[in-house]
Each structure stands twice: as structure tokens, then as C-alpha cells.
């Protein structure tokens, strides 16, 4: 009874009205029936889009022309709304009309909520990408559309009066890039608690007084985003609670699980290659097959007989990933540390715990995975006394140059690398370093993990044949499980064979983005 009523209501609302706005806050879930095929393609497409958002965010400055260009291209490609100001119903060449694209955007967002509400890690990733996507879209709106959006979604923020503006004029000028003396007077400044505009506080792009920030109108996107983030975060927590009901649907469960596993890609935590490397090999491997970040940490460790926490984590997990067993790792760290200021007793008390912790033998027993490039580049930047981080991101160009010279990289090669660093393409710079040190013209992979660097290098030198086989085997095992999941779906009548292909496709996309 209720069901038919709901359907009627949706039916009576034409799509043009439902999707009249170029951008939405995702306040209402979609209420229509869709086929499983559509469910799947929508979800996969949005995942691809979010994956692009993530990748583009590392390679380019957010909001820069190249960044926007890439996102426009990908949105267009995947049939998502992209040119938001063009508010027309004309059919595009690709087949979907604007309202249809908006519908796809709406539905796919809610499907991924289901897939990404399950763990803290998944939620964080999903929220981050959705927020970035929303920021790009909001910034793409015309000023009039922005106001309309605020109005429609009941977003109201306090502005400050003329008197206050006059009194604070100098401070506002010096703290808000892009605001000039002339515009202070006719521009609205919003006064909100600093907790609501953390991104602006973090980067000191706003005036802060007594716990309140003064945000020029052009930066209003920050407050809107904060609202968006908070709402999405709450919504995901709520979704997680109702998840058991969704999971009881055997058609959806394998699909959702697969979707949520897709984002991480290869995590190099697989323990199959344990014991393939002896401690004696490490020094020579570090010269041959280590990426610069790890080579650097290894050298610092050998020189100082010590590494601080950030370095131990980054290097220790890498070593675990290339196949050191827990016993080997303990021996490795102990033998180095006791040559410095730490005696064996202190090592066992203060450091052995954290190494066992890394291997999931202590505390909450999480089997930690080696850091990928994104994590090395973006989180926990090195400070005084630290040697971790990404040398392409965290070194002075001058020092990087010296280091590369020391490692006998050709002058022209160094210039190429420094050029990439300048453009903030740290991973590409690392890849270039790989090509130069391995005498390869064009690498066939796209580098996103220090352990991947290591494996690829071993492949080139042929020494890692054993390693490679092991990795391939686990890779196969993974694919098999995917096929299994697909088989389940194959039994369902609504699932055409092309979808199975699509899902296998998905795996390859995320392994080599």
C-alpha cells in the first residue's frame, strides 16, 4: 500500500523537476526502481570518477586549470554532469540528457554510500573524494547559481556589519588572499566558529579572532563543504546501521563488497614472499632496487643507527612488504640500533614492541600494510630529525639535485626529474628516476607504491623471479575470488554477461590506474 503510494509520488514528479538543479546536497535518496544492470554500471562509473578525483588531486593543485580540465574530461567520459552552468536539456552526443546525467549522479552516490559505509577507512576515503568532487562542482557554478544553491538548501551564514568591517579592514586584507582594499567594503564577510572552516584555518587563508573566522564571500565554498562533509559523515554512520538489511539481499551483497574493495588496489601486504630475502642482501638491494625514499631511510639508519617513529614505520612496513619475516625484522633493527645509543635491553623494551606491532602481533593486532606513495606524500610530513617522506616532495630541490648527482644520474636526467618535481608530479619524478637507473625508455606501469617500485626493479634485474611468481600467484587467487563473486551474479537472470566482464575490468583499472 505504502509502496504503491510512494511510486505514484515519484511518477508524478517529472525528472526535469526532480533534477532541475545542476548540483545537489544529496539530502533525499532516490526512490525509483532500477535494474541491477543499471545499479552496477552506475556504481562502477562513479567509482571510476572518484578514483580519478583522487589521482588528479595528487598530481595537480586542487582547483588549478589542469585539475579542472582532467575532471571535466572524466565526467564527460563517464556521463556525469560536467558543464554545470550549461543548464539545458539538449541531448549530448554521448546519449544521456542533462537530467539523466544528474539522475545517474544522484543514484550512484547513494549506491556507493552503501558500499563505503562499512569501515572507518572506507568512509574516510569516500568522504574525501566526494568532498573534492563537490568542491570542483560548486566552484564551477556561476555566482547566481551558487546563491540559488545556498538558498534552496537553506544554508544561511552570519555576515558582519559595516562597522566591524571597517575596524578589521587591515587584518582582513592581510589574511584573505584575493581580497583587495577596494573590495573589502562591498564584499560580504561571514563570521563562523573556526571549527567550521578548518581548511582555511589550517592554511592561514583567513582572519581568525577569538575563535571565529572571517570568511570572504569567495571562500564560502569552505563552509558549504564543511556542511557537506558533516552531513555525509552522519549519513554514512546511519547507513552503516541499516546495512544488515541490505546485506540480506544476496543479489547486492557480493557486488557491494566488491565495490568497496576496489579502491585500495594492490596493497603489498601479502605474506607469500616471506623469507625470500636474507638480511645480507639488503645493502645491495637498497642500492639497486629501492626507491629513493627507502634508499634514503636505509642510509640514514646505517649512518645514525637510529630512525625516529615516522621513519621506522615507513621503512619497517616496506621491509615487511618485500618479504622480511618478523624474526628477520627484529634482528635487522636490533643489530642496527645497538650499534648506536640504544643497548639491547633498551631495544627490547622500547622498540621491539612497535616492530611486533607492525606485524600485527601486539595491540589490536592489525596487520599493517606498507605505505603507498599517496600516504608517504600526503600524510605526516617529516620534521626536525626525520628522514621519512618522499624525497621528491620533501627535499630542497638543491639537496635533491646533489643526491641524484651522487647516485650518478645524468645531468639531463636530473633536469627532467627536477622539472617534474617543480610541477608537483612527485610520482612521475620517481618513475623517471626508475627509468634512468634501470636504463629503460618507457616503463609500462604507473608507479604508486614503493613496494611496487621494488618488485618492478627486481623484474628488470631478473633476480626477483621467485618473488614475482609468488606475487602473480596471489594475484591469481585474488582474481579467482572475483570470478567467484561474478559467478554468483551470473546465476541471476538480470545479469548479462557484459557485466561480468565489466567487473573483471574493474580490477584491472584499479591495479593500474
Amino acid at each position: 500500500m505504502q509502496f504503491s503510494e510512494r511510486r505514484k509520488r515519484v511518477g508524478s514528479r517529472p525528472q526535469a523537476e526532480l533534477y532541475g538543479q545542476p548540483l545537489q546536497f544529496y539530502g533525499q535518496p532516490p526512490l525509483e526502481n532500477i535494474s541491477l544492470t543499471e545499479f552496477e554500471t552506475f556504481a562502477v562509473d562513479r567509482l571510476k570518477l572518484l578514483k580519478t578525483v583522487e589521482n588528479v588531486g595528487v598530481s595537480y593543485l586542487k582547483g588549478s586549470p589542469q585539475y579542472v580540465k582532467k575532471l571535466v574530461a572524466e565526467s564527460k567520459n563517464l556521463n556525469f554532469p560536467y558543464r554545470l552552468e550549461a543548464n539545458d536539456d539538449r541531448k549530448c552526443q554521448s546519449g544521456l540528457s542533462e537530467p539523466d546525467k544528474r539522475r545517474k549522479d544522484h543514484i550512484s552516490h547513494f549506491i556507493l554510500r552503501l558500499a563505503y559505509c562499512q569501515t572507518e577507512d572506507l568512509r574516510r576515503w569516500f568522504i574525501q573524494q566526494e568532498v573534492d568532487l563537490f568542491r570542483y562542482r560548486f566552484n564551477d557554478l556561476s555566482p547566481k547559481q551558487k546563491l540559488e544553491f545556498l538558498h534552496r538548501n537553506n544554508l544561511q551564514y552570519d555576515t558582519i556589519g559595516i562597522e566591524e568591517k571597517k575596524a578589521l579592514k587591515d587584518k582582513l586584507l592581510n589574511s584573505s588572499p584575493g581580497v583587495s582594499g577596494i573590495t573589502v567594503e562591498d564584499q560580504d564577510f561571514y563570521k563562523v566558529p573556526f571549527q567550521d572552516a578548518l581548511d582555511l584555518v589550517r592554511t592561514r587563508k583567513v582572519y581568525l579572532k577569538a575563535g571565529y573566522v572571517y570568511i570572504p564571500h569567495q571562500e564560502i565554498v569552505t563552509i558549504v563543504l564543511n556542511d557537506f562533509r558533516t552531513r555525509l559523515s552522519k549519513a554514512l554512520a546511519l547507513t552503516a546501521r541499516s546495512l544488515p538489511a541490505v546485506h540480506s539481499d544476496e543479489r547486492l551483497q557480493p557486488l557491494l563488497n566488491h565495490l568497496s574493495h576496489a579502491y585500495v588496489g594492490q596493497d603489498y601486504s601479502i605474506q607469500k614472499n616471506v623469507g625470500k630475502i636474507s638480511l645480507e642482501q639488503i645493502d645491495s638491494l637498497s642500492g639497486k632496487s629501492y626507491p629513493l625514499c627507502m634508499r634514503h631511510l636505509h642510509q640514514a639508519l646505517r649512518e645514525n643507527h637510529h630512525l625516529r617513529h615516522g621513519g621506522r614505520m615507513q621503512y619497517g612496513l616496506f621491509l615487511k612488504g618485500i618479504g622480511l619475516s618478523l624474526e628477520q625484522a627484529l634482528q635487522f633493527w636490533r643489530s642496527e640500533f645497538i650499534r648506536g645509543k640504544v643497548d639491547a635491553d633498551k631495544f627490547d623494551k622500547a622498540y621491539a614492541y612497535s616492530i611486533r606491532h607492525m606485524f600485527g602481533k601486539e595491540g589490536k593486532r592489525t596487520d599493517y600494510t606498507p605505505y603507498n606513495c599517496m600516504k608517504v606524500i600526503l600524510s605526516n610530513p617529516p620534521s626536525q630529525g626525520d628522514y621519512h617522506g618522499c624525497p621528491f616532495r620533501h627535499s630542497d630541490p638543491e639537496l635533491l639535485k646533489q643526491k641524484l648527482q651522487f647516485y650518478k644520474v645524468s645531468p639531463s636526467g636530473i633536469n627532467q626529474i627536477l622539472e617534474l618535481v617543480k610541477g608537483m608530479h612527485y610520482q612521475l619524478a620517481c618513475q623517471k628516476y626508475f627509468e634512468l637507473t634501470h636504463n629503460i625508455e618507457d616503463t609500462t606501469f604507473s608507479l604508486n607504491h614503493p613496494n611496487q617500485y621494488f618488485l618492478e626493479s627486481q623484474k628488470v634485474f631478473g633476480g626477483g623471479r621467485d618473488l614475482k611468481r609468488e606475487m602473480d600467484a596471489t594475484q591469481k587467487a585474488k582474481e579467482n575470488s572475483v570470478v567467484k563473486a561474478s559467478n554468483v551474479k551470473q546465476e541471476l537472470p538480470t545479469n548479462g554477461p557484459e557485466n561480468v566482464a565489466e567487473m573483471e575490468d574493474l580490477d584491472s583499472i584499479f591495479q593500474e590506474p
Partner: protein
């Protein structure tokens, strides 16, 4: 108090006395109970103890001041750390379903450690401090205290000497205690100007226009810079340190790329304005351990606990009389007397007293 007067081996004898006679339990409890406004605020707070031989006990919690006293007098911890307020009693964390035991609130804390200044001080290194480099801590406190009060609007700040080589700040306002991890890291980053590790020479880069926060911080540095950097540290007197400063100007490097005299002169002029500020900040601006501030569940050494290596007590620092604070004059555990910092003039006398006190303590120790 020279360090040599303190012998870490005597700790097991001294700690019982300290916790029985001197530790300010009632003030301590009053602080952490926050007026009892929120239910179980004290009861759900994590304490962790470091016992003899570096045995580390986490997730201690106490139902009342009396229980806290009893436990501390029983365990006689070498070091006490304070953690977060959790959703459940920390000492029962194993009985709660995993995942539901979560850190909810904690003071916003800052940890400034002199070891992080090793590249810009010449007098000492690592864990050592002297009155010359202590000025860095004074500057740090002045800058952060102003920013936390005026910019962020916090009112209840507790500055504490860590007992060895640094200072801690506990921001106790209700709003501060409720900050999320993201907000804590945003505050810490707002307050951090020094960026980069061992591979970065130039750690401060300013953009135009200079933010009011940085202007205010520069004003503080200005007051101390000449005396501290030029006289005490003599950064422009010795060859090695002069080279460091010159490298920071980046003139040589820029001149290599720029041949036009007019442009070169512009670069020199730039020194007078922006570069000068960058250098001052690199040498004097507070270096925060951001990771300590970020986490809600991060532990920090408790005020009034003993530093096991120096024997000094983590005493609060009087902001109104900051320049007079002397880390070498704080009470140490080997003193059997009320914990008030002695004036400079009394130093000699104090030393005598110490010996007496130590003797007296021994006698009493026997009686116990």
C-alpha cells in the same frame, strides 16, 4: 640545581615519600574533575604509569580522588601520563565490545621539545639545555599563548615545564576538550611555520601579504632576537653558523641564475624585508610536535609528575612572570620541602638545605 646532585638510583626511595607527602592530589583531582559537570569525566580518564625498569601500564583509571591516591602510593610510578576521556572506564576496556571503546575528549595539548631546535642552537644538543637556549622556550610560550588566547579565543591555558628539555601546554577550555582530530590538526598546522626535515635547509617561506598571526609572532621574536641570536647563540660570529645564515639568504644561488645587476640588487633588497623575517622565524619560531597535538588519545606526561632522568618535578609555569622562570631552579624530588621555586639569591642556601633535607629524608626513609 645542578643535575649532579640527583641520582636516579635513589628514585625507589624517594617516590613513596613524594606521593605520600607532596603530590598535590586535591588540586590535581579538582582540575581533572572539571567541577563534575559531566558525568564520569574523571572516572573515564586514562592514566598510564611507567614503573621501574620501564614497565609501561596503560589504561589505568580511578573512581575517586582517594582511589587515585591509594593506587599512586601503591604503585609509585616513575612517570605518569594523562590520556583521553573514554566512552567507558579505561581499566575495563577489555570487557567492552571492541570498537565501542573510544577516546571522546581531551585537552588540546602542545609539546615543544628542545631537541627539535638542534639545527639552530649552538650551545647544547639533544637532551641538554642551558639558560642560553631556554630563551627559545620563552619565545615559544609567548607566541603560542597569545595565539591560543587572541586568535582561538581559549582562556584556560596551563603551561608546564616537562622536567627536562621542553614545555607542555594544556588547553582546558570546554571547546578545546571537545575538538575533533581534524580540528586539532588544523589548529596545530595554523600554529606551525617551520616545515621540513633533515633534507630541507630553508624551513620558513613567507607569502605576501603576511598573515596577522605571523606579524604578531614576529613582534614577539623581535623582542628577543638580538640578544638571543646575536649574543647568546652568536649566529653571526662563527664561521660555521655564519655559513648557515648565508645559505638561508639564498643569494649566492640566486646570483648564479641572475646576471642583471638591477635584478641582483632587488634580491638584496628582498633580504631586508622578507628574508630577514624568514631567517628570524627559522631560528626562533616554536617547533611543535604536531603529532602530539593531533590525536585525542595521545598521552602526555602529567603535570607534577617526576622526570625520572633529572628528578625534576613538572611544575606549572607562571605566565605572568615567564622571563624569570628558570628550569634549573625547579624543585627536584631530592628536595624534601614544599614545591616552590627558590629565588636565585637563595640558591647557595638551598644547596645546603638540600643536603640536610636529603639526610633527614634518609632517616625518615628508614623509619618507614
Amino acid at each position: 640545581m645542578p643535575l649532579s646532585d640527583y641520582d636516579p638510583a635513589s628514585l625507589p626511595d624517594l617516590l613513596p615519600l613524594y606521593y605520600r607527602r607532596l603530590f598535590p592530589f586535591s588540586q590535581y583531582y579538582r582540575w581533572l574533575n572539571y567541577g563534575g559537570v559531566q558525568k564520569n569525566y574523571f572516572q573515564n580518564r586514562e592514566f598510564s604509569f611507567t614503573l621501574k625498569d620501564d614497565i609501561y601500564v596503560r589504561y589505568q583509571s580511578f573512581s575517586s580522588q582517594i582511589e587515585l591516591e591509594k593506587e599512586m602510593q601503591k604503585m609509585n610510578p616513575y612517570k605518569i601520563d594523562i590520556g583521553a576521556i573514554y566512552s567507558h572506564r579505561p581499566n575495563q576496556h577489555n570487557t567492552v565490545k571492541s570498537g565501542s571503546f573510544q577516546a571522546l575528549e581531551k585537552e588540546l595539548v602542545f609539546d615543544i621539545d628542545m631537541t627539535d631546535y638542534d639545527d639552530v642552537r649552538s650551545c647544547c644538543s639533544a637532551a641538554d639545555i642551558c639558560s642560553k637556549c631556554w630563551t627559545l622556550m620563552t619565545i615559544a610560550i609567548r607566541i603560542l599563548d597569545r595565539a591560543l588566547r587572541e586568535d582561538f579565543g581559549f582562556k584556560h591555558l596551563l603551561w608546564v615545564y616537562s622536567g627536562r628539555r621542553g614545555v607542555h601546554c594544556w588547553v582546558c577550555d570546554e571547546a578545546a576538550r571537545k575538538l575533533t582530530v581534524a580540528a586539532r590538526s588544523a589548529v596545530a598546522e595554523y600554529l606551525s611555520l617551520i616545515k621540513g626535515g633533515e633534507e630541507t635547509m630553508k624551513k620558513v617561506v613567507l607569502m605576501d601579504p603576511i598573515h596577522p598571526f605571523i606579524r604578531a609572532s614576529l613582534a614577539v621574536v623581535n623582542k628577543y632576537f638580538l640578544r638571543y641570536a646575536l649574543q647568546d647563540q652568536d649566529i653571526l660570529g662563527q664561521k660555521e653558523s655564519v655559513e648557515k645564515v648565508l645559505a638561508l639568504t639564498e643569494l649566492q644561488q640566486h646570483f648564479l641564475n641572475e646576471k642583471k645587476p638591477e635584478k641582483r640588487w632587488e634580491m638584496v633588497l628582498d633580504q631586508a624585508s622578507r628574508k630577514r623575517k624568514e631567517i628570524m622565524l627559522q631560528y626562533c619560531y616554536p617547533r611543535l610536535d604536531v603529532n602530539v597535538s593531533k590525536g585525542v588519545n595521545h598521552l602526555l606526561k602529567s603535570p607534577f609528575s617526576v622526570h625520572p632522568k633529572t628528578g625534576r618535578i613538572s611544575v606549572p609555569i607562571d605566565i605572568g612572570n615567564l622571563d624569570a622562570f628558570d628550569p634549573f631552579a625547579v624543585p627536584t624530588i631530592s628536595l624534601d620541602r614544599p614545591m616552590e621555586a627558590e629565588d636565585e639569591e637563595n640558591a647557595e642556601e638551598t644547596k645546603e638545605n638540600d643536603k640536610d633535607a636529603a639526610d633527614r629524608r634518609k632517616i625518615r626513609g628508614d623509619e618507614v
